[in-house]
Assembly symmetry: C2
Homo-oligomer: 364 residues x 2
Amino acid sequence: MAKRHPAVEKKLVGLADLVIDAAARKKDPAIAIPVRSLSNVTFNVKKGFIEMGKNKQMRTFFNVGMAKKFMQTMLVADALNELQKADLTTSLREIYYRTKHTMGDSHENTFDDQAESDPVIEDLEVGLSALREEFHVRAENAGTIIGPVVFEDDGDKVDCAKLGKGGYSVPSIVEEEYLKIKKCTADFVLLIEKGTQWNRLAEDKFWRKYNCILLTGNGQPPRGVRRLARRLHEEKKLPVYVLVDNDPWGYYIYSVVKQGSINLAFESQRMAIPDAKFIGLSSADPESYDLPRNVGIKLNDKDISRAKELMNYAWFQKKEWQVEIKRMLTSGLKYELDALANKDFQYLTKTYLPKKLKDRDWLD
Amino acid sequence: MAKRHPAVEKKLVGLADLVIDAAARKKDPAIAIPVRSLSNVTFNVKKGFIEMGKNKQMRTFFNVGMAKKFMQTMLVADALNELQKADLTTSLREIYYRTKHTMGDSHENTFDDQAESDPVIEDLEVGLSALREEFHVRAENAGTIIGPVVFEDDGDKVDCAKLGKGGYSVPSIVEEEYLKIKKCTADFVLLIEKGTQWNRLAEDKFWRKYNCILLTGNGQPPRGVRRLARRLHEEKKLPVYVLVDNDPWGYYIYSVVKQGSINLAFESQRMAIPDAKFIGLSSADPESYDLPRNVGIKLNDKDISRAKELMNYAWFQKKEWQVEIKRMLTSGLKYELDALANKDFQYLTKTYLPKKLKDRDWLD
């Protein structure tokens, strides 16, 4: 069972009170929603993450352009409050279905598709300063973890050092109320982009030899995986090393883990890990580790323009990062972690990572 | 650590012996590879699954058109044998990287991309009658399981009734040597297409009340999930119920679980579950469960042509299936399981599935 967030419930009920209040005072009910556009997003160099500015927009009911959106906001808030009261979690899609109905005798639907309800949930997240996970809105389980950490999930003690090679499936919502970190004796977290390297390391029991936690999100890490890495970092003081392919996508994944993303700048304060390190694959590695050029993949036009874009981001301005990305562009090649198998199947476990860790060879 | 398959190793070594033998006798080495094309695939009505016929093609070395393919086959077999000897597993992609090199002083690569090495692995699967999992070739963990079943994975006892709401992450390789089913007291397996319904049921502890195993592959179930369902069915005699969206894709997912697929007909004998039942969402359900039409989604042209295609498949010839698919076409609508949330968030757990099970309302 989900545990209640009385504070969140209060915020949602507060919205309804605001409308009742305005009606009683014969005023136009209005809600202030922070503006979620690029113009209201900045990279906070001191904090080390992307954050939202203070611009807000009023959403009012007696305004032809806003009335429908206002009504939709109230419907979604009502559904979210239903989740709070019943101690349930659900998905973005089900929120859409739950709040969809035909209005009165009209042929007009409250929502025509999910593209209308999703932004309303984001509005409420920023407007009420609560993560969607606190609203009990989840995505699918989409990550795997193994290593010396014990969780409490729904009353069960889950020892991630005793789950064979399979591991624990990371839930979408990993807030304290849902998932307690009961014990953690690991020295660091290795956040691995792809499942295949995670499997290699799990099979080789790398986590046991190096006393670490292996975590993967199978690609761009989903929110649950990022939030769990952040909690392990914050609560257990574990360094987080990010292991990705050497391509613009890999750099981007690392940057989202570290600084958060522009689109969801609001969540950075709860998700970003400004201290995260980039452990590889670096564009210097093919030479250092003697990878043949024929296991590199030619950069395509999209890779090149994306890499140039990354070089302009405020958070990639450090000299080492400019060198890192430029070197990839100069070589004309990108490399997947899988290419390490060209040396031998256990090269990642037995040579590459041990050397990286020993030499403290990472980027910040 | 992976456990060895001496029989598989023997088969791989046998391939090398065949070449040495032919060389000693000054003959052209040749391997017989069953033909993997539609013409060599049939639906075996009696067995209830799609299977390969007996057509084979000889692959010879002294043949300009086949020499490269022959060499590639030997290289891949050698890499697979390396996995056997070292007790390791790996991915299709790493097999490609492992076997890629430039030949002699030429500029010719053994493989130019993975599209060349994957079919060779399939050739070896059918040629040597071994699943790729027996060759130690894995995909990513891509499914989740919860319920009253205890596995032994790498020496650890994993009790899937004690993993909170998160569950055990299903490995790609679930053969007996890797994953033992130590104990199972469940009455049936519910194989759920989407993670979101799996989460709903896990959160509501549906598995405890109905004494079942909840298994999902987050979409089209990956091989590990299918194989695990098959093992639970075969070894523990558990009925398997498949829960999918009501659309052509959902029907197709069900049919692959039940009869196997045309593309990978060879694996059906180890993967298919001819007794699997389709528990929903049926095209009869929107009416039976009073779902409003506005939560249905209009069938597009692709849906319609796919549905008509399905109606022609040998395994959808039963009258009830013709009625089922035709009814969807007539209504012009498809429905997602998520749409049940329109009634209430727990409708799936508390009303829909209990009634389905009580009424034994499923299709075979």
